[in-house]
């Protein structure tokens, strides 16, 4: 009997890491590029995808000029697959899907194109995929973050960055719950959730408690969905031990007040040489392998690679693309 294969084979064992966060300038692209370069230096095959739809610049951090094909070419159909848009870099094993120069079109990616992109990311024949996401909490950014296993929030030890980290995580939580509500056709809860969660940190608990009292089955579905969201945290640009400990504290506060299991991967010390490398259009990691920041990158990568507890349940709408 001949078995028909519908569509391309989906590789199930791809590791997809998404680097995101609420605030700009925290070093998301730096972390993405450094993780990619580190894995490639270990003879792993890596694809970096510049999914910062509004302001792509990951190629610059790798010292590469913007050129075609890029993400825009895939989304407009000029290149048939995402695999075709992944171009070689000067670093063995590392390929990059550059961000598009056609910002206006890409930044407002429609739902269909987003799902097509998400599906193709999972179909890449490369075991390690790293998504560099943009700042903010647009649905596109959140959906890319939630589709990864795990999503990594990069923040810095400043009040603005911490505040935006919590806002970003709240947006992720609301997005996860909304997707599950839509999927299970749970009625009239979205507005109630928005009203309650906006109020204060304990209101998330309040929302679940009242839901459990009125409808235990729905409450259980949504609470399990929430517990399946397990982001990681990286504290970047730390200047002393106090900043390193701050990351631990943030993860603890998130666990207690936002009810999600956040893992603190570690801190990357501030290094002036990052700026110098960027000014010279050279990637930081290969030239500063002995620096404290590079060592931190290696430890974070190891922590990620050997962690088996990420059994993230991707929200249903993201998991089942119709494209």
């Amino acid at each position: 009997m001949v078995k028909k294969t519908i569509g391309a084979k989906v590789k199930m064992d791809n590791r997809i890491w998404a680097i995101g966060g609420g605030k700009g300038g925290t070093g998301k692209s730096f972390v993405a590029a450094s993780l990619g370069l580190h894995l490639a230096s270990l003879d792993r095959e890596v694809v970096l995808i510049d999914a910062d739809l509004g302001a792509p610049n990951l190629h610059t951090l790798l010292g590469i000029k913007a050129s075609h094909p890029d993400l825009g070419d895939f989304l407009t159909g000029t290149v048939a697959s995402l695999e075709g848009a992944a171009v070689e870099t000067p670093y063995r094993g590392l390929r990059i899907v550059k961000g598009s120069e056609n910002i206006l079109f890409i930044a407002n990616l429609n739902h269909y194109r987003k799902l097509r992109l998400l599906r193709q990311i999972r179909q890449l024949a490369t075991p390690n995929v790293i998504l560099d996401l943009g700042t903010g909490s647009s649905f596109n950014t959140l959906d890319f973050f939630l589709s990864a296993n795990p999503g990594i929030v990069v923040t810095t030890p400043e009040p603005t960055a911490i505040e935006n980290t919590y806002l970003f995580l709240k947006s992720c939580i609301m997005r996860v719950l909304k997707l599950y509500m839509d999927h299970y056709k749970i009625p009239d809860l979205h507005q109630k959730m928005l009203d309650q969660i906006e109020r204060n940190s304990q209101s998330l608990y309040g929302f679940f408690k009242s839901l459990m009292e009125t409808d235990r089955a729905y409450g259980t579905i949504l609470y399990r969905a929430l517990r399946g969201f397990r982001p990681c945290l990286v504290m970047n640009k730390t200047r002393d031990e106090r900043d390193v400990l701050l990351g631990r504290s943030v993860a603890d506060v998130v666990r207690k007040y936002l009810l999600i299991d956040m893992k603190y991967l570690g801190a990357i010390p501030y290094d002036d040489e990052v700026h110098t490398s960027l000014r010279g259009f050279r990637p930081y990691y290969p030239e500063h392998k002995d620096s404290a920041a590079a060592k931190a990158i290696r430890e974070i990568s190891e922590e990620l690679a050997y962690s088996i507890e990420f059994t993230l349940r991707t929200p249903p709408e993201i998991r089942l693309p119709d494209a």
Binding site: Y166, S201, K209, L245, R248, S249, D252, I308
Partner: protein
């Protein structure tokens, strides 16, 4: 299991296992004090002053109970009556060809890191 902070048990509050040693409890207590101290950056934009007061009170209560072996065993028994406890399995870490644990240099303990910045007269 959905729980409000007031319902978290002492071990959950201090983020330690029920098998934790006195040193681990001390370290976690100090870490919790730094997290929930007045003006802590980790609370900015999420936790109100009233909530901070409440959790600090609970953390003090947790430490006072767990540091005293007699009170701790009484508390453990009370917890066991409420629900069974299964200690966690050892974390799996892929081997890289040698025993990393034995070769690894001793890491600075959490307490030595905390006291450098947050404790005036350790």
């Amino acid at each position: 299991m959905l729980k409000k902070i007031e319902d978290w048990n002492y071990y959950e509050l201090l983020s330690v296992e029920r098998t934790a040693s006195q040193d681990e409890i001390w370290e976690s207590y100090q870490a919790a004090l730094t997290t929930y101290r007045d003006g802590s950056l980790a609370l900015y934009g999420l936790v109100t002053e009233a909530e901070r007061g409440l959790i600090l009170e609970r953390i003090q209560e947790a430490f006072q109970t767990l540091r005293d072996p007699e009170k701790r065993s009484e508390y453990d028994l009370a917890l066991l009556r409420h629900a069974p406890y299964f200690p966690p399995k050892a974390a799996f870490r892929k081997s890289v060809g040698k025993l990393e644990i034995e070769d690894a240099p001793a890491r600075k303990t959490l307490w030595t890191r905390i006291k450098r910045f947050f404790v005036k007269n350790p």
